[in-house]
Symmetry: C2
Subunit: 308 residues, 2 copies
């Protein structure tokens, strides 16, 4: 059973224990690139088309060259097949701006003028990498997680007004997300829900917040500066068919406390129920299992680029 | 004349055109690491001790293992010597959390309990890389730069209240800084000054703002959530000796407009005078050359770790 699988965007299987990246990769030097994390289940990359669609959208936010989705699809499917069906895997798609030396050592591209590039595109860096799912995942799925709220210090209006802040793009610049998770661990919590300056609910450092209340599911809208969630989309597609009222609406922290259940949805952990929020115990509703089942059904489908 | 120099933290000179980094380096996957950019002038790394001090401080913010400063000093000096004295170079020190596979594929370290690590430290990734200075530098030093102000969307009070946002640490997560620079280029400007929600002056995406007014130099204090500047420190050390009144005080955008001169200070460009701000032309004061000279004198000294 393989422990790690590495496939470059040309479809070549690589040795994961051989160096792959150059010291001047801009993805490393400046966190200047985008990524996706995909669950491999039974040898299949889950909700792949939704991930490809989001990768394309993130790349556009960063003014990266448009990803060759056919090449990505091929590399991902090859990596998933190589990983095999015996157990779940965490598959990452990584796309960076490429090497600094290919950008004249400045890392600053010529401005993209009206969609026409002023010079030849320097090569980007792209690869797909599969590793086992983290140990924390099983417990989070079955027992839920303890969560604290932390301020992100920004307004929900910022995403519309400040595109340079890249809110809603899944960039490689995740240092503050990782720092928030370490802060939570020090506080004895498993995870974080970020809030805005208006005490509105934003998202987790690696998850989408969905509130369950009566027969409704509610998640904050992308215009509030959150990353659209692939797992949340997969859930909504199933839940709508099952008669749930699925909505995108601003949420306050108070809405979390009065909900039937609060879920953190993510590609690998899938549905983690918030079992305690800022120290407040939150009991599971009788139909919690239904959410988990709908997520499992939803992500088993590839989705469609057009669904994005 | 060498075009690029790469030295790993063990002091070994590496081929810059051979891959160095693994696909699962957390510095790349999550922008989870820190860096410094140092000017090499006449074969010497400028203000090296100030950069080492800031590297140590940034690593502490990210809860990285304390950098081995002796090893860094050695690698930097070797790289600078290898680069040679013929022309200036941009030297980067890059330190990441290491490989995901060394962290149990989770990227999440055990919490550091009271300074004692609960388990053996996984190896970090560290290297030093020298390339030519960007083409823009010469013009910025001699003719100045055009700058636009852009909101960072956060309050100056945030740094004190939200340590997980890593304000004031020089992390590899620079995607929004690069995005802001691209936005400026589209607006026909060279650079950016970020502002807070209170319209206070913060910093540039890769520089410190210093205002020159009469015999005073003023820069925003670190508690406002800005990165302490090594070049600004080197300038202040010289300017104080020369009788300037050097201060750390909050600045409003209005203070920029009424200043004798506004400077963006950075390790490689050094002192770039703001020649236009949001389209407003700003003429140079008669003593502008004095600032540049003091910066040149200041960065020629190594500084001291204790000065930080």
């Amino acid at each position: 059973m393989v422990e790690r699988v590495l496939v470059t965007l040309d479809g070549a299987i690589q040795d994961p224990d051989a160096p792959l990246l150059y010291a001047d990769d801009i993805g490393l030097l400046r966190g200047d690139g985008v990524f996706e994390t995909v669950l491999v289940r039974e040898g299949v990359p889950c909700a792949l088309e939704l991930h490809l669609a989001r990768l394309r959208r993130s790349a556009e936010s960063l003014e990266l060259p448009a990803p060759d989705l056919e090449a990505w699809r091929f590399a991902v499917e090859m990596a998933a097949e190589e990983w095999g069906a015996e157990r779940e895997g965490t598959l990452r798609m990584v796309l960076t701006r490429g090497r600094d030396s290919d950008h004249g050592h400045s890392g600053e591209r010529s401005a993209n003028k009206g969609g026409v590039l002023a010079e030849a595109e320097p090569a980007t860096t792209g690869y797909v990498f599969v590793v086992p799912v983290p140990a924390r995942v099983e417990k989070a799925r079955t027992e839920g997680i303890s969560v604290i709220t932390l301020s992100r210090g920004i307004s929900v209006d910022l995403a519309q007004n400040a595109p340079w802040l890249l809110l809603g793009a899944k960039t490689l610049s995740y240092a503050t997300n990782m720092s928030a998770l370490r802060f939570a661990q020090r506080m004895g919590a498993d995870d974080v829900i970020f809030t805005s300056t208006e005490h509105r609910v934003l998202e987790g450092p690696r998850s989408t917040v969905v509130v369950q209340r009566d027969n409704s599911l509610i998640t904050p809208p992308a215009r509030n500066g959150v990353l659209p969630g692939t797992t949340q989309r997969a859930l909504y597609a199933q839940a709508e068919k099952a008669g749930w009222d699925c909505r995108y609406e601003p949420l306050f922290v108070a809405d979390l406390i009065t909900a039937d259940a609060v879920w953190l949805l993510s590609s690998v952990t899938l549905a983690a129920r918030v079992a305690s929020l800022d120290g407040l115990r939150m009991s599971a509703p009788d139909n919690a299992g239904e959410i988990t089942e709908m997520v499992n059904r939803g992500i088993a489908l590839p989705g469609s680029l057009a669904d994005w």
